[in-house]
Amino acid sequence: MKDNASMTAKNMTGASILWECLEREGVKVVFGYPGGAILPAYDALKHSKIHHVLVRHEQGATHMADGYARASGQVGVAVATSGPGATNMVTGIATAMLDSSPIVCITGQVGSKLIGSDAFQETDITGVTLPITKHNYLVTHASEVARTIREAFYVARSGRPGPVLVDITKDAQQTTCEFDWEAAKPQLPGYRPDLSPEPKEYEQALELIHNSKRPVILAGHGIIISGAMAEVREFAERAGIPVALTLLGIGSFPAAHPLNLGMMGMHGEAWVNHTIQEADLLLAFGMRFDDRVTGNLKTYAANAKKIHIEIDPAEINKNVKVDVPLVGDLKEVLHELLPKVESIDRSEWLDSIDKLKGDAAVRDIQNLPDSGHLYAAHVINDLWRETRDHETVVVTDVGQHQMWEAQYYKHEKARSLITSGGLGTMGFALPAAIGAKVARPEAEVWVVAGDGGFQMTLCELATIVQEKLKVNIAVINNGFLGMVRQWQEFFYERNYAATPLLNPDFAKLGEAYGIRSMTVTERSQVVPAVQAARQHDGPVLINFRVEQEDTVYPMVAAGASLHEMIRRPSKIVETAADE
């Protein structure tokens, strides 16, 4: 079928064309949930080689597609029906949008004659998702399916990647037309994903770099998307420039590298933020100066010149005014810059950064005497020690555990941490981990989720079992919506409004799904539990019951200057910080 179609046009239904085009775009697996308006597509699935993963909620399908994309660099695909199926995808689409993750969402739509009539399960999903997709399409004729799918994949993965939604009416799936792959080439006359800087801008950038005494690289998600890890490393090493990471930049530069400072921003280590504040040059590599990394913009790196290498021109001067923008693909831009970057001895600057570390190590909870309590930081640190030598992908949810993961799990490789950064979507971890495991079956995949976020999408435990996926799940259970509780502690006089959680027994819950489960309450049990999970063939859930009112330090309060941090206390305090 495939070979013939490329040579001669043949008659096919829109539904068959859909699967044929997905296959030709390299899709091996889709995550979906059937329903009335997408039924013709599901009926035609039987002729396709594509594997369909049945999810338990359409939000899960989008996070799985997202996790698949982030783990592999390939476009992830989610499928849903019209109306509620489509609207359930909204959170996952917005998550992918803010983190530039390439996914294509296929939704069924009511018949084209019924559009606008408030028909059963009709929602204007292209209208709903307009501001949260890179682009979207409403397809009303079978003849439009092929070109639209080709354009959707091209738009999703090129330039700054992002989600594309294709809404296909039921009649467009059912009716037949001539299918001709070659003739259905994308036609996107206004779409320009391939910008590159002017020669003059390169010269200006090099001058700033060579004249700088205290430069810092701000390493963002763009490095991983562009695949520029080796170039960034070469650049940093040659120019002797330290590297600070955004949350999504974690893995873009090896944690163990002597030039790696660690994560910056709201929960970055104090010396990282101080380094940025004292720098005379910021080199922003594929990052967008999010408010979580800048703090108060008025005082942000006030004495630093800024070079911004970024593929999206709309990000230039959005939050932080930059001196030299280099708009283009990071890898290509660095290839231009690298031969001209001079090797400069910056040991004085690097030594002064070392001094900024001060007593931070002493304050680290890993180095404080054992109080008998189990802290989340212990769990993450032990998990890292046990899994560091393997190809491990950690997928986190959102909240305190996410920040502890970022601080205590030392990621050496790109695509080894998958986390919802921009949107901060609770419930992301479990389904995204499913997508990651499907994309990279050989990798050891760990979910690290809080007890709050885990319960938002835990229905996908059934998907794990159904697909026989070896996914390990660490629930960091403190009986609170911990990050919100922390804000209430600091900024709302410990009025813990609606943050304590009455939880089910997660171990029993896991067992009910047929997942081997255990509960850990003491630090000495952490390593044996992790080892047992790794050795077990099937999925494992570990319920870590950790200290309830633990706090993520350091912390830059929202709107405060980046150097104004609430630091770790120098001894363990049972309830709250006293400094």
């Binding site: 090129s158 080439k185 206004g190």
Partner: protein, 182 residues
């Protein structure tokens, strides 16, 4: 300051919504937006005026380009351009006031397009301040109804490139150039 953009877009359903939605989402305030056909049937042309400082103006342009259906954006704010607004103004004009109103209309080179016993309807085309001027002098007689189109603009001379082609054949996306690894 008020910026004027000429925006060429693909003539497809929903494109106006995408453009308008962009301004709403990024919290830029549209002063006026007109849309119509061009010399090429597959291309529509918008004239958008928006209050923005220099940085915002540049970001508006960059954001417009992020819309897949936007073909070309020209900020003609500081360029020599012909700018026109059209207004229809219905003025109360009983017979003693009528000759005064007609006189004012002729001073502004406006046309009377409807005459009724109690009113006159005047059509005026021109730059916005000219229309504002006529409106000002008509107000004492009683403006019963008014409608304005918002401005359309075109650069003077041959500097304007005209509607870009959507290139059904010659602007095909070169897929070979696309990295499939993201």
């Amino acid at each position: 300051m008020l910026n004027t953009y000429v925006v060429y877009v693909e003539n497809k359903p929903g494109v106006l919504t995408r453009v308008a939605s962009l301004f709403r989402r990024r919290a830029f305030n549209i002063d006026s937006l007109t849309v119509g056909r061009t010399e090429k049937p597959e291309v529509s042309r918008m004239t958008i005026t928006v209050d923005a400082d220099h940085d915002q103006a540049r970001r508006i342009e960059a954001n417009l380009y992020k819309l897949v259906n936007v073909l070309l954006v020209e900020n003609i704010t500081n360029q020599p351009a012909i700018v026109r607004d059209l207004a229809m103004i219905k003025v109360a004009a009983t017979h003693e006031a009528r000759s005064h109103v007609l006189e004012l209309a002729s001073v502004f080179r406006a046309r009377v397009v409807d005459v009724a016993p109690e009113s006159l309807t005047i059509e005026i085309t021109g730059a916005e301040d000219k229309i504002d001027g006529l409106l000002e002098v008509l107000r004492p007689y009683g403006v019963l109804e008014m409608v304005r189109t918002g401005i359309v603009a075109m650069r003077r001379g041959k500097s304007s490139s005209g509607a870009p082609t959507t290139g059904n054949t010659d602007h095909d996306v070169a897929e070979e150039d696309v990295s499939h690894s993201v």
